[in-house]
C-alpha cells in the first residue's frame, strides 16, 4: 500500500467505498420499500457520498477536506433521520416518501450536511474560539507542498489555487455531461436516452433534461469559482496587500463551495430535475427531489460568491499600497471591484427566488402557483434580476485579464486606461437595469418591453469602449504571441462574436423568433468562452510561473489553442445556424424533417475536440508543476509588481513593501517605474504567530 501514489490509492478507495455505499443504499431502500431497485436513487446517492469521501481519504487521510466530507455525510443522515423521526411522531403518512427519505428529510439533511462540513473541515474553528473569548494566532502556518491545498489555508494564493482547481474539476464534470447529451443529439431520434431507459428513477428524456440542466449550472458555478480563483490569487498582490482583508472569511467562502458541489451531484441521482438551470416554476414546483438539491446547491454556492466579493471590495478599499490611487490601479482590480459589486448584491435575489420555490414545495406557500393567486412571472423577475447581472460577473474579470495582459505582450500602454477602467463600472451598473430582456416572450406587462430594449442596448457602449481600446493598444505595438497572448487574442474575437449576437436578442420582435432557440445557446457559449474560458486559460498560462516557478509547456499550450479555437467556432456557429432555422433549446430530440442531422453531427465532433484539447491542457498543467521549464524571474518582462519579486511568491507576498510611483502600463517610456520597493511603502498588516490581545470580529 505504501508504494502506490496517493491518487491511485484514492481511486481504489473510491471504487470500493462506492460499491459499499451502493450496497448499503440498496439494502436500506429494499428494507423500506420492499423492492430491490438497482437503478434507483438511494443506492446511487449513498454510492456518491461514500465514494467522494473515500477518494479524499485515500489521497489525503482523515483531516481537512476528508473530515469535512465525513461530517457532511453523517450530518446529512442525522438531519434526515431527525425529520423522518419527527414526521413519524406527528403521524404523517408516507414517512418515507418515494425514496428512502421524504422530501423535507432530504432538504433538512442536506442543510445540516453543509453546516457539518464547515465544522468538519475546520473553517469556523477560529470564529467559534473568538466568540468564546479565546484568542487564536492571526495566521496559521500552512503545510508544505501540495498537502496544504486539501485543508484550510488562510493564504490568498493557496485559496486562489484551490478555487481554480475546483473550477477545473467542475468544468470537467459539466463538460463530460455535455459530451453525453451532445452524443445523443448527434443524430435525430432517441439513440441511448430512450423512453425505456430507467436510471435513478428517470427515463431517457428525463436524464437528458437533468444532464442538460446540470451542465448549465455546474458550468456557471465553475465560472464563479474560476473568477474567484483569479481575483483571490491576483488582487492582493496587485494592490500590494499581504493577504485579503478577511482571510478567514476568504477560506470560508471557498469551502462552502465544496459541499455545494456535492449537493449538485446528489441532485443528479435523487430523481434529477428537468427545468434547465433557470428553474422556472410551476415546473420546478413539481419536479422530483433533485430540484431541492439543485436549489440548495446554488444557494450554498451563492454564499461563496457573496462573501468572496465582499472580501475583494474590502481588500481594494483598505489595503492598497501607498500611492496606489484610483487611476493607478491595475485594470484587473477595477474589473474585480465592478464584478464584486454585482455579486455582493444581486446574488441574494437568486437565493431568494429559489428559496421561495423551496418553501412553496415544502409548506405549500403559493407564491408562484397561479391557481391560488400566485404569479409565475414574478419568479422570472427575481431570478433574472440576479442572473442577468451575473453574466457580467462572468465576463468582467475575464475582460480585465485581457486588458491586463495585452499591454505586456504588445509592449505598449493600454490605450485610454481611464475609459477602460470606467467601462467596467459602466457595464456593471447598466447591467442592473436590463434583466427583463430574458422575458420578452414571458407575458410580462407589455409596457416594460421597450424600455428594457433600450437599456440592454446601452451595454454595448461601454463594451465597445473596451474593444476599441484593445484594437488601439495593438495598433503600432511590437506584438509577441506566446500561449497566454494567443488565448487573449482568441478571447477578443470570440467575445466579439458573442457580444455582436447580443443586440439581435435585444431587438424585441426579433427576439420573439430567437428566444429559447440554439441561436441563444450559441450567443452565450460565445460570450462565456470569450469572456471567461479563454481569458481563464490565458490567466493560468500567464500566472502559472508565478505560482510554481516553472512555466507550462509552450508546444502543448499552442496545441491546446489551435485545437480548441476552430472546434469551438464549428460548435457555436453551428448552434446559431440551426437555432435560426428552428432548433429549440432543451430538447432531447429534434424533428428529422428539419434536416439538422449533419450539422448536429459536426457540432458533436467539435465538442469532442474541445474536450480533448481541455484534457491536453489539464495534463500539461499537472505535468508542468514538476517537470516544466524553470522560470523564476520576470518571465514576461512585465511592469506589474508581482513580477518584480522571485517566483514562487513568498508566503506574505512582498518582504519589502512597495510604493506606487508611476503609471501601471507605461511600456516604452524610458526610465519610468510603476512601483518602488522600500519600507517607505509600509501599508500592510504585521503578521504575528503569537496570540496577542486580539480584536474579535463578527
Amino acid at each position: 500500500m505504501r508504494n502506490i501514489s496517493p491518487v491511485w490509492k484514492g481511486l481504489l478507495l473510491l471504487v470500493i467505498a462506492g460499491a459499499i455505499g451502493y450496497g448499503i443504499g440498496l439494502g436500506l431502500d429494499a428494507l423500506i420499500s420492499g423492492a430491490l431497485n438497482t437503478s434507483g436513487p438511494v443506492g446511487a446517492a449513498f454510492a456518491i457520498l461514500f465514494a467522494v469521501t473515500a477518494f479524499f481519504f485515500g489521497i489525503y487521510g482523515y483531516r481537512g477536506i476528508t473530515r469535512g466530507l465525513v461530517y457532511q455525510v453523517v450530518g446529512t443522515l442525522l438531519g434526515a433521520l431527525l425529520i423522518t423521526g419527527i414526521r413519524a411522531l406527528m403521524g404523517l403518512d408516507n414517512i418515507f416518501g418515494v425514496y428512502l427519505f421524504s422530501e423535507p428529510a432530504w432538504v433538512v439533511g442536506a442543510l445540516v450536511g453543509v453546516v457539518s462540513f464547515l465544522f468538519g473541515v475546520g473553517v469556523v474553528h477560529d470564529w467559534v474560539q473568538w466568540s468564546r473569548g479565546i484568542d487564536t494566532p492571526e495566521h496559521h502556518a500552512d503545510e508544505p507542498g501540495w498537502e496544504k491545498y486539501f485543508g484550510v489555508s488562510l493564504d490568498h494564493k493557496v485559496i486562489g489555487i484551490q478555487y481554480t482547481i475546483t473550477a477545473l474539476v467542475l468544468i470537467a464534470i459539466g463538460g463530460t455531461f455535455a459530451m453525453i447529451f451532445r452524443t445523443e443529439l448527434a443524430a435525430s431520434q432517441l439513440q441511448f436516452l430512450t423512453t425505456e431507459l430507467r436510471l435513478f428513477n428517470q427515463t431517457g428524456p428525463q436524464i437528458y433534461n437533468t444532464l442538460m440542466s446540470l451542465h448549465g449550472i455546474i458550468m456557471i458555478i465553475s465560472i464563479l469559482l474560476g473568477i474567484s480563483g483569479i481575483m483571490n490569487y491576483a488582487v492582493p498582490f496587485l494592490v500590494g496587500a499581504q493577504d485579503m482583508a478577511f482571510p478567514r472569511l476568504n477560506a470560508f467562502a471557498y469551502w462552502v463551495s465544496v459541499p455545494a458541489s456535492v449537493l449538485m451531484l446528489l441532485s443528479l441521482v435523487l430523481g434529477g430535475f428537468d427545468t434547465g438551470w433557470t428553474g422556472y416554476p410551476p415546473l420546478s414546483a413539481r419536479a422530483p427531489v433533485g430540484m431541492q438539491m439543485f436549489f440548495l446547491g446554488v444557494f450554498t454556492a451563492g454564499w461563496s460568491s457573496i462573501l468572496g466579493s465582499l472580501n475583494v471590495i474590502a481588500t481594494v478599499v483598505r489595503l492598497r499600497a501607498k500611492g496606489m490611487s484610483a487611476m493607478r490601479l491595475p485594470i484587473l482590480v477595477w474589473a474585480s471591484v465592478a464584478t464584486s459589486i454585482i455579486a455582493l448584491t444581486a446574488t441574494q435575489l437568486i437565493g431568494l427566488s429559489f428559496q421561495l420555490v423551496m418553501f412553496q414545495r415544502l409548506f405549500g406557500m403559493p407564491f408562484f402557483d397561479a391557481a391560488r393567486g400566485g404569479n409565475p412571472v414574478l419568479f422570472q423577475h427575481l431570478f433574472w434580476f440576479y442572473s442577468h447581472p451575473a453574466v457580467y460577473v462572468f465576463v468582467l474579470p475575464g475582460l480585465g485579464v485581457i486588458s491586463e495582459l495585452l499591454p505586456v505582450f504588445v509592449r505598449k500602454p493600454l490605450f485610454g486606461y481611464r475609459w477602460v477602467a470606467m467601462s467596467s463600472l459602466g457595464i456593471a451598473l447598466v447591467g442592473f437595469t436590463v434583466w427583463a430582456h430574458h422575458m420578452f416572450t414571458s407575458g410580462m406587462n407589455e409596457y416594460l418591453r421597450v424600455p428594457f430594449m433600450y437599456s440592454t442596448l446601452l451595454v454595448a457602449v461601454p463594451t465597445g469602449v473596451k474593444f476599441f481600446s484593445w484594437v488601439a493598444t495593438m495598433w503600432g505595438g511590437k506584438i509577441e504571441t506566446p500561449t497566454p497572448m494567443l488565448f487573449v487574442l482568441g478571447a477578443i474575437i470570440v467575445f466579439l462574436m458573442g457580444g455582436l449576437t447580443g443586440p439581435p436578442n435585444a431587438a424585441i420582435a426579433l427576439d420573439l423568433h430567437l428566444h429559447d432557440t440554439y441561436w441563444v445557446v450559441g450567443h452565450f457559449h460565445d460570450t462565456i468562452f470569450g469572456g471567461f474560458v479563454f481569458p481563464f486559460f490565458a490567466a493560468i498560462y500567464y500566472w502559472f510561473p508565478k505560482a510554481t516557478g516553472r512555466r507550462m509547456n509552450e508546444f502543448w499550450g499552442k496545441v491546446h489553442f489551435w485545437m480548441m479555437t476552430p472546434s469551438f467556432f464549428v460548435l457555436t456557429l453551428g448552434m446559431m445556424l440551426i437555432g435560426l432555422r428552428g432548433m429549440r433549446r432543451r430538447i432531447v430530440d429534434y424533428d428529422p424533417a428539419l434536416g439538422f442531422d449533419f450539422a448536429q453531427l459536426i457540432m458533436t465532433i467539435g465538442g469532442y475536440l474541445i474536450a480533448l484539447s481541455v484534457l491536453i491542457f489539464i495534463i500539461n498543467l499537472f505535468h508542468s508543476i514538476k517537470h516544466g521549464e524553470k522560470a523564476e524571474g520576470n518571465l514576461w518582462n512585465s511592469r506589474s509588481p508581482e513580477w518584480q519579486v522571485p517566483s514562487p511568491m513568498p508566503v506574505h507576498n512582498y518582504d519589502v513593501p512597495f510604493e506606487v510611483v508611476g503609471e501601471p502600463y507605461d511600456y516604452g517610456l524610458k526610465d519610468s517605474k510603476y512601483v518602488e520597493f522600500s519600507p517607505n511603502g509600509q501599508k500592510h498588516i504585521e503578521f504575528t504567530t503569537e496570540p496577542e490581545v486580539q480584536p474579535h470580529r463578527h
Binding site: A370, A371, Y417, L458, V465, G668
Partner: protein, 338 residues
C-alpha cells in the same frame, strides 16, 4: 502610419461586404409564412449588416496589427509610448451611443409593425398542456370545434388567446417567427397573419418537462375554401359526438390532452395505458393492489395523487376541475377501450 490606416480602412470595407454577402446568401431564416415574418426578417437583415460591419471593424485592424506590427526577431525594445487620445475615446463612446439608440428606436417601430391589429381577426383559443396543444375555434350554435391540429385560412389575421393548464409552454411556429409563452393563470395573446399555404408545426419552445421535445402539433395553412370545408366536417363531428356520453368523454379527453400521457392501445407512456383499464389489477406504490373499477377511475381523475400506480412515482398527473357529469362521460369513454 497613414498608409496603414488606408489599407485597414479598405480591408474593413471589403471584409464587411464579404461577410454580409456570405451570411445573406446562406439563407439563415426559415421560409416566410406570415406577414409578421416579413417585419422580423427586415430587422434581421439590419442586424446582419450591423454585425458584419462591426465584426470587420474590430477583426480587420486586429489581424492587420498582428501581422504588420509583430515583433521582429532580435528586437527587444518596447513599442512607441502612446497612452491614449481623448478625442478618439469620446468619439468611440458617443458614436456607438447614437447607433444603439437609433437601433432601439427602429426596434420599437419594428415591434409595433408586428403587432398591427385587424379588428376582423378570427379568435382561436389555444391551450398548452403537458405535452400537447389544443385549439378551440369560435363556437357555432353552442357547439365548439376543438382540434389538435391548427387549421388556418391564408391571408386572414388570427388572434390566439392562449393559456396553460399546468406549466409554462411557448407557442412557436418558426415560419411565423413570433413566439409567445403560454402561462398558467393568465391569457397571453399573439396575432399572426398566415401568408403561405403549406403545412408547418407549432413547436413548444419553453422547457415543460419530460416530453417537451415532442410537444409539436401540425399547423395547416390552406385557402379559405379548404379551411371552410375542414371546419364544416369538424363541426359535424363535434355535433354528433356531443350526443353520446362516450362521444362527450372523448371530446373532453382530447380537449384536456390526456393522450399526452395515456395511450389507448396499450403502448407504454408517461402514465398507465387506458387500454383494458377497467377490471385490470394495478399495483400501487404502497405495495397494495387494486382492481380498477369506476370508483377508482373517478378518484384517479378527481384526486390523482391519492393512489399512485407503481412505476409512476416520478410523474405527476395534473389535477383537473371536471364536473361530475364530465367525469362520468370520461369514464364512459374509457370503458369503451378494451
Amino acid at each position: 502610419m497613414r498608409r496603414h490606416f488606408i489599407i485597414v480602412g479598405i480591408l474593413v470595407i471589403v471584409m464587411s461586404v464579404l461577410i454580409y454577402i456570405g451570411l445573406d446568401s446562406a439563407g439563415l431564416m426559415p421560409v416566410v409564412a406570415s406577414a409578421q415574418a416579413v417585419d422580423v426578417d427586415w430587422m434581421w437583415n439590419l442586424e446582419v449588416i450591423a454585425m458584419s460591419f462591426l465584426f470587420a471593424l474590430i477583426v480587420a485592424p486586429l489581424t492587420y496589427s498582428l501581422i504588420v506590427f509583430r515583433r521582429r526577431k532580435g528586437d527587444t525594445t518596447d513599442a512607441e509610448h502612446m497612452e491614449g487620445n481623448t478625442r478618439l475615446e469620446i468619439a468611440w463612446t458617443i458614436v456607438p451611443l447614437f447607433i444603439v439608440m437609433a437601433y432601439a428606436y427602429l426596434g420599437a417601430i419594428n415591434l409595433a409593425a408586428t403587432q398591427r391589429v385587424d379588428p376582423q381577426a378570427m379568435v382561436v383559443r389555444v391551450t398548452g398542456l403537458q405535452w400537447d396543444w389544443t385549439f378551440e375555434y369560435p363556437s357555432v350554435n353552442g357547439v365548439t370545434v376543438v382540434s389538435k391540429e391548427l387549421h388556418l385560412p391564408v391571408g386572414q389575421q388570427v388572434l390566439f388567446r392562449m393559456t396553460s393548464n399546468d406549466v409554462i409552454h411557448s407557442f412557436w411556429v418558426p415560419e411565423f417567427r413570433l413566439k409567445q409563452d403560454v402561462v398558467p393563470g393568465r391569457i397571453t395573446e399573439l396575432r399572426i397573419t398566415p401568408t403561405l399555404e403549406g403545412s408547418y408545426k407549432v413547436r413548444c419552445a419553453e422547457l415543460c418537462g419530460t416530453s417537451h421535445a415532442f410537444m409539436e402539433n401540425p399547423v395547416i395553412i390552406s385557402s379559405q375554401e379548404e379551411f371552410d370545408a375542414w371546419f364544416d366536417v369538424a363541426l359535424d363531428e363535434a355535433v354528433t359526438a356531443s350526443q353520446t356520453p362516450e362521444g362527450r368523454g372523448q371530446a373532453l379527453v382530447s380537449a384536456n390532452g390526456c393522450a399526452a400521457c395515456h395511450s389507448i392501445n396499450g403502448a407504454p407512456g408517461i402514465g398507465p395505458t387506458w387500454f383494458g383499464l377497467i377490471g385490470r389489477t394495478e399495483e400501487l406504490t404502497d405495495g397494495s393492489t387494486v382492481v380498477v373499477d369506476e370508483a377508482y377511475v373517478h378518484e384517479s381523475i378527481s384526486a390523482p395523487q391519492a393512489k399512485i400506480v407503481a412505476g409512476f412515482e416520478n410523474q405527476l398527473m395534473p389535477t383537473y376541475s371536471f364536473t361530475e357529469e364530465q367525469i362520468a362521460d370520461i369514464i364512459a369513454y374509457i370503458t369503451t377501450l378494451r
